[in-house]
Symmetry: C2
Subunit: 183 residues, 2 copies
């Protein structure tokens, strides 16, 4: 089946701090035209920090779009031209104060491919050494270690709802059980 | 720690087909002001359809924001006032042609809480009966059944990247192994 949607027009509708919005006119596979709203995002790195004793380091912060305090894996957007691995190291230290002895890329994730091009690069961080955290000046976050069983239970009870974080928790459980091998 | 960000102004910057974009001015916990871009979305239901012989029904479609063909769980946005469970039934039939004998809510997911309020309601569909699919007129999709082991391998190889779909695949594996009990 041919699915491709050719772009025939693209208009920048909004320029924000982090995201921009384009209205894209496409030709559908049957020849008709349609429009797609596309939220452009620079991409981000997500870190799954696993301590030597098998705990996961999580950060808590206010998420304005959802008007809630959200418990999540450390993460942050890529600076212009920044390789995802550098971003992962930087965000891990900024948000949690830990430095990773080892960093392994595990997954590439599209957070919501229906309306955004945001790509998340997920890294597992191990051999962690504690230093000092220094979040961005408009970030108010705190971090704490959790057992994987506690996190799984929080996902099942709906207390953790962030998509990348749920993926990371399920993956951490697979890694700890030996079902997922790190390269 | 107090994280709350009080809204002091909100401006609609873009009105799209499915999404709208607001620029929200907030007061940070330390009293300074900042702005947040918020993509408003009506929410969606995601279906994890597990056949009697333990296979998962997946749909393939073009995702314009990412310019790629994406293999995903069936899903679709809520119509105005539509309960998530009704949406799940409707989208499952529209996209795959299957009707669910049983539908169980399993997870509530925020796809990308940093810039959008999109909520995904995930349902496990079982006791499936095949009818006819009838996708929306601007949807070009095809569907096929997969073994869970094949899907896990596709996630690990980066061939499946959609966040909600990765969550559903890991969850299906947990359900099939008896690690996650359906209510």
């Amino acid at each position: 089946m041919n699915y491709y949607e050719k772009t025939v027009n693209e208009e920048r509708k909004y320029t924000g701090n982090i995201i921009n919005v384009d209205k894209v006119t496409v030709v559908l596979p049957d020849g008709r035209e349609s429009t797609r709203d596309v939220v452009r995002h620079p991409g981000a790195s997500v870190i799954l920090p696993i301590t030597d004793d098998g705990k996961i380091i999580m950060v808590e912060q206010y998420r304005k779009p959802c008007e809630m305090i959200s418990l999540e894996l450390p993460a942050g957007k890529l600076d212009a031209g920044e390789p995802p691995e550098e971003c992962a190291k930087r965000e891990l230290q900024e948000e949690t104060g830990y430095i990773a002895g080892k960093l392994a890329k595990v997954l590439t994730i599209h957070s919501t491919p229906g309306f955004s091009d945001e790509v998340l690069h997920m890294f597992v961080a191990t051999d962690l050494v504690e230093k000092n955290a220094h979040p961005d000046e408009d970030e108010f976050i705190s971090c704490r270690k959790y057992d994987i069983s506690e996190l799984i239970s929080m996902v099942e009870k709906g207390e953790i709802t962030d998509a990348k974080t749920i993926i990371g928790i399920f993956l951490a459980d697979r890694i700890i059980k030996g079902e997922h091998k790190l390269s």
